[in-house]
Assembly symmetry: C2
Homo-oligomer: 285 residues x 2
């Protein structure tokens, strides 16, 4: 039986469970110990936030989740770096493929959204990003930005109802457009700063504005020209996944060549440094 991604029929958001055994019986989260249910090959179908990780951040619709591994089993403290393997790699596969993950909060998870007792199913989330950083412990940890999916359904055909299995469909990649993004694309005449590609469409040229330091928690990169690059969709994906980074002198790392920078485009080296620190030299699988 293949791993079930998406909602469990009959289990609404807000459903509560007294313990992990009941959570397992309901098929929400099968492992009774592990926080991440998943495999490196298939991705992760479910996680449980149990409050064990000092670096977790929970804003309700946005969760910054810390990966597994490297903790002392007795004290729960981070004593070794985490690696991008097993559950962590499974969550990275969700990011790559746009797979949804079920999220359940336990009462011991330190958050305003946690139940007073037991476990509460919070719904489906998208793994929007993954990166590495130095945690409060001083050890390198893996982090995952999760955002809540609402009505993540495929459009149904005429006379067709949207069944549970179709609800597995999810939103994979969101690109934002703002005045700053439009200005940067204009400045480069929609040419990719890495490869010079300019995609031509019936509606004019197409390019994407990529944030160097990502927007939103916990990065809070600004939506300004100094933090934007004009990229083709391929190089946008590669940049967001850390397959290449950019040195302060605009030399690329991970790809041959140099970033092309317009004389009127001041790129903030602090943002390039932030991107390198979080995304540089991620091991290729």
């Amino acid at each position: 039986m293949s791993r079930h991604f998406g909602a469990i029929p009959g289990i609404p958001e807000g459903a509560t469970f007294p313990d992990r055994r009941e959570l397992r019986s309901a098929k929400v989260h099968l492992p009774t110990q592990a926080g991440i249910s998943g495999s490196a090959k298939e991705g992760a179908d479910s996680i449980v936030l149990s409050g064990s990780y000092e670096d977790d951040l929970d804003e309700g619709d946005v969760i910054v989740y810390t990966g597994e591994g490297g903790r002392d089993p007795l004290t729960g403290r981070q004593v070794k770096p985490q690696e991008l393997v097993r559950g962590n790699l499974a969550l990275a596969v969700n990011h790559r493929d746009g797979l949804p993950v079920r999220v359940t909060r336990g009462s011991r998870h330190a958050s305003a959204y946690s139940p007073a007792a037991g476990y509460e199913y919070a719904g489906l989330y998208r793994v929007e990003d993954h990166w590495r950083e130095v945690g409060k412990s001083g050890h390198s940890i893996w982090r995952f930005r999760l955002t809540r999916l609402e009505n993540a359904t495929l459009p149904a055909g005429p006379g067709e109802t949207v069944g549970a299995e179709r609800r597995e469909a999810i939103i994979q990649r969101i690109v934002r457009d703002t005045a700053a993004a439009r200005a940067i694309k204009s400045l480069y005449d929609f040419r990719c700063q890495v490869c010079g590609t300019r995609l031509e469409t019936s509606a004019g040229a197409y390019a994407e504005a990529a944030h160097i330091r990502p927007l939103g928690a916990p990065h809070y990169g600004p939506d300004v020209a100094e933090n934007l690059l004009c990229l083709c969709p391929n190089h946008h994906v590669l940049f967001d996944f850390g397959s290449f980074t950019v040195q302060d002198d605009f030399q690329l790392v991970g790809l041959p060549g140099t970033l092309q920078v317009h004389p009127q485009h001041r790129i903030d080296p602090a943002h390039l440094g932030y991107h390198r620190a979080c995304y540089a030299a991620l091991p290729r699988q």
Copy 2:
């Protein structure tokens, strides 16, 4: 003053207006005659559904909107083909750049969602697609698939409230992932069927599954291998915008070369024909 994209502060969804003059005063839709407020350079900030177009389709959260032009001013009937210029091109620019458009329904718009009298502001929509088809009149018309945006906001920084101006940010491109999509990407080992590119990331290779006949109203393409291609993000954008199409013998039109097709991948020629009919030979701007 530049065109205002996004919600109008103080005008909630569901706000009603007795006539077009009041709609203009509220800054929801400035032109008092035209259905599309916009320019080919900036995009369209607002449309009014006034029921004049026999081909419109309205499912509430999904609207298939017919472009402007080619109608007899007396009878309102389509007497000439529509062109991708002015308001129509403006909406195509929204599609390209991911700009939101305000939607207002008039009482004469034939839909269950129309107000009994006057005009009702319906909220912000995303222009998800544009294509050409032969309308009920027998003339070629332009069509735009609009989907309602909910809480289309940029993440705010810490201690920052999400102000009206930040709500302009929108969702640009949605890629769906399903079991069928995962299977097709696997079959091609994540290589683009057009250019052979395989994007390498820390979470493994990345590719996108593109629907040949689009999902959802009014196309209702199926989410099955026969209707999917494995493409790199760049060729996915170009295919969706009709910058290239595929002949039944897999010869490309609009790009040099031939689609690479795996012996185990049966592509339904009816879907290729559908894509050509709607998207082929769109004029480049």
